[in-house]
């Protein structure tokens, strides 16, 4: 195993571990934190199946965003849809045999990479051009967009730029990446373009659980969206904190807040 292979293998495992453990911890936090009151944003469904439909519309069509702002919806939706297709196409590189439906995607995926980058650029421009979006954006919002644009661009270059030499290395890439998943990494191709693309993705994964990227799972835990509107029919709670009912945990009175560690100079 070459030194380079070792470095990138370790990089991969660290990134994946941070991603998986980080996301599991997040999900655990969301699962374990109580929602002590019924707060569905009404009109809300009265059945679990109805909530499923509501959630489906929001996750699959970004319905609420569509109601709120058509422009952001267009950019955001195109981006996510294209990203999903790109992601599925990537399974080619991880899986030993490619399922037929993924192969069929080949035909459209010629464009999806451009859609990803184009839609992100559109979102970036919106942040700069619309006064309200500009006001609320912070540096990391731009950075994230640039970051994913960079991932997309290196991906597109890998595919369409002969000089990059990634296309001809694909069998080795498959062997390396597929091997990572089976804990027998092959030799990493010494292709700078590929290594850049790969590294950016690993960095992105490591950033994911600690940033707004958790929106991908958090949406499922949003009480205004996932609660059933049946508070009269079915009693919700009551909820406990440290063995006491919520209402009995009194607010900290002045005394308990004022406890200071440092001695006062009397």
């Amino acid at each position: 195993m070459s030194g380079l292979t070792l470095v990138f293998s370790i990089f991969f495992y660290i990134a994946i571990d941070i991603f998986i453990i980080g996301m599991l911890l997040k999900v655990w936090k969301y699962v374990s934190t109580p929602a002590p009151l019924k707060i569905p944003q009404t009109p809300a469904p009265k059945t679990a199946a109805g909530v499923g439909v509501r959630m489906f519309k929001d996750v699959v069509f970004f319905r609420s965003l569509f109601r709120g702002n058509k422009r952001i919806w267009l950019g955001g939706y195109l981006f996510h849809l294209a990203l999903l297709i790109v992601f599925m196409k990537h399974l080619r590189f991880f899986l030993p045999a490619t399922p037929a439906i993924i192969d069929d995607l080949v035909d459209i995926d010629i464009y999806t990479g451009f859609v990803v980058v184009g839609a992100l650029a559109f979102l970036f421009i919106l942040r700069l051009a619309v006064d309200r979006h500009f006001f609320i954006s912070v540096f990391n919002d731009y950075m994230l967009l640039v970051f994913i644009i960079a991932i997309g661009t290196t991906g597109l270059l890998s595919r369409f730029w002969e000089g990059g030499g990634v296309r001809s290395d694909i069998p080795y890439i498959k062997e390396f990446v597929g091997g990572l998943f089976t804990f027998h990494p092959g030799t990493v191709p010494e292709n700078p373009l590929f290594l850049t693309h790969f590294s950016l993705v690993m960095l992105f994964l490591m950033y994911f659980p600690f940033s707004k990227m958790v929106h991908a799972v958090a949406i499922f835990f949003s009480p205004t969206r996932n609660q059933i509107d049946n508070s009269r029919e079915k009693r919700w709670g009551p909820w406990m904190v440290k063995g006491k009912r919520y209402g009995q945990v009194t607010p900290p009175a002045a005394a308990s807040v004022l406890v200071k560690d440092e001695p006062t100079d009397a």
């Binding site: 009404t42 919002d141 919700w236 009551p238 919520y246």
Partner: protein, 520 residues
């Protein structure tokens, strides 16, 4: 020495306010324009000095909060925020999730009305999220300002006090957020934290104290309440020639009626009270108010404090135990209905002593419409022929509760009832009603005069939509089902040059139309 005395304390910085009593309402054009974030406002907001009065020590301590700003308030804020994060999934998820997409930025009536970019829902939430990021997230600890994380300081706290009291917790922003982020939850948490470090809001906390001491928001003791009801009964007899009762504390009554205390004498609230009484009278159903639970409102929700929420609600539990009614009905009040419909079962349920054939609690509109549909009472629409009516969906009812057994009943049931009471009804423009309704501008504990400017500005979108139907359809009555809406509009309408009499209750219309003659 003199210099020292002039130095501002931290408390002064938070408390410093410049209420603008002479603020002029914008003109009514019928258009709701989205303001531009002006360059000058990016640095500092324009309404950051418009703040409600801070509660005095005695008021705070009655609610078990520290009396004034505690010394180590910054540590206390972080500690309390940490506790709330463990207790509220909404807070935890919503502080993490926002991608700052911008969808909510033009949805809040307070941004539309004040032009202050800090009143954009996401910007408001970001005031708290900054601190969350800085102290609770890895991203914020590493990237600091770049991630939008910020250290808590007295100026930020001062902004909290201003802007979390320019949010009526109406949940309009949540409708348009891809993740349903509810800024109301965030502003409740922020107010709870501020209460816990000793800077509560005077208007809300004073009222909570009154509820504990006396039993209702208006501080009306049982004797005064009984006297008011009696004299109102006399007025009713004079008006109708019939003995229509307004019973108080009558054990064994079929219905226990919980209504906002403003209904007992404020105008136009009392007109709806007369409406309720006539409905019960005509339907022949025995009912009673309770002096113990002479308040439907629950300001505990506004300050996000679970203990207060539960404590205020528990008065209703006590009243049920005393009076042993079969049914529980709630009068016209927006946030009260949200608390009753969505929270009561959790806080003071189960209601297993009540008749299971009826929903518990039931909204007065559900109750009355059912009687109308069954023919148990008759309404003469012509009695309201002088009115062309529109309906303001109270935000708490629209987005935080339901009526009937189908989603959206909170929109159809009051409208059906209005249509059964009058001949001419028109809805305001789509996008300003039902799920997308604008708040009246006075909800969520904002109904206090030192922030009148913000109330006038927050009412702007509703006023524009109203002026449009007044112009096009001759609307001269806006029916309401919220005590706060009624109080807010009677104050705000004249500021916009609209007669006060345009605001009224749904049961005001019912009360005028009800046929008191032939009993079914």
């Amino acid at each position: 020495m003199a210099e020292q005395a002039a130095e501002k304390t931290e408390f002064d910085i938070v408390a410093e306010a410049h209420p603008n009593k002479d603020f002029k309402a914008p003109e009514l054009t019928g258009e709701i324009a989205t303001p531009r974030v002006e360059d000058g406002m990016i640095v500092k907001g324009v309404t950051d000095a418009i703040k409600p009065h801070i509660a005095k020590e005695a008021i705070q301590e009655k609610l078990d909060f520290p009396g004034t700003l505690v010394d180590n308030w910054d540590e206390a804020v972080i500690r309390r925020l940490g506790e709330l994060l463990e207790r509220y999934k909404s807070l935890q998820v919503y502080l993490d999730t926002c991608v700052r997409c911008g969808s909510c930025t033009d949805k809040c009536q307070f941004y539309l009305g004040t032009n202050d970019p800090n009143n954009m829902p996401v910007a408001r939430a970001e005031l708290l999220r900054k601190v969350y990021k800085r102290y609770f997230t890895t991203e914020g600890k590493i990237f600091r300002k770049l991630a939008g994380a910020e250290k808590l300081d007295i100026n930020l706290l001062s902004d909290w006090y201003a802007y979390f009291h320019q949010c009526s917790q109406c949940r309009r922003c949540s409708v348009f957020c891809p993740y349903g982020i509810d800024t109301a939850e965030i502003s409740m948490a922020a107010r709870e934290i501020m209460d816990c470090i000793g800077i509560g809001q005077k208007y809300v906390n004073e009222i909570l104290g009154k509820v504990h001491d006396i039993g209702n928001n208006l501080g009306m003791n049982p004797k005064a309440l009984a006297a008011t009801l009696e004299s109102t009964e006399e007025d009713l007899e004079e008006e109708t020639g019939q003995k229509i009762r307004l019973p108080l504390d009558e054990e064994g009554a079929e219905v226990l009626m919980i209504t906002p205390s403003a209904d007992f004498f404020a105008s136009p609230h009392v007109e709806s009270l007369l409406g309720y009484a006539k409905v019960f009278h005509q339907a022949g159903i025995s009912w009673t108010f309770s002096s113990k639970a002479s308040e439907a409102g629950n300001f505990g929700m506004f300050i996000g404090n679970y203990t207060q929420l539960e404590k205020v609600a528990s008065r209703v539990r006590d009243a049920i135990d005393d009076i042993r009614p079969k049914r529980l009905i709630v009068g016209e009040c927006g946030h009260a209905w949200r608390v009753a419909y969505s929270f009561w079962n959790t806080l003071i349920g189960p209601f297993d002593t009540l008749d299971p054939n009826y929903p518990a609690p039931q909204h007065i509109c559900e109750f009355t419409l059912d009687l109308v549909e069954r023919g148990a009472i008759k309404l003469d629409k012509a009695a309201n022929d002088e009115f062309t009516v529109t309906f303001h969906d109270s935000c708490n009812v629209a987005r935080g509760s339901c009526m009937g057994d189908r989603p959206g009943g909170q929109f159809t049931i009051p409208r059906e009832l209005i249509k059964a009471s009058c001949n001419r009804f028109v809805d305001m423009e789509k996008g300003t009603i039902m799920e997308e309704t604008f708040c009246c501008g006075g909800g969520g504990g904002l109904l206090t005069d030192e922030i009148l400017q913000v109330r006038i500005q927050g009412a702007m979108p509703r006023m524009q939509a109203l002026s449009r139907v007044m112009e096009s359809d001759g609307v001269n009555f806006m029916a309401l089902i919220c005590a706060i809406c009624k109080a807010q509009f009677t104050k705000i309408l004249p500021k916009y040059g609209v007669p006060m009499s345009v605001a009224g209750g749904v049961h005001q219309l019912v009360g005028r139309a009800i046929d008191l003659g032939a009993k079914a």
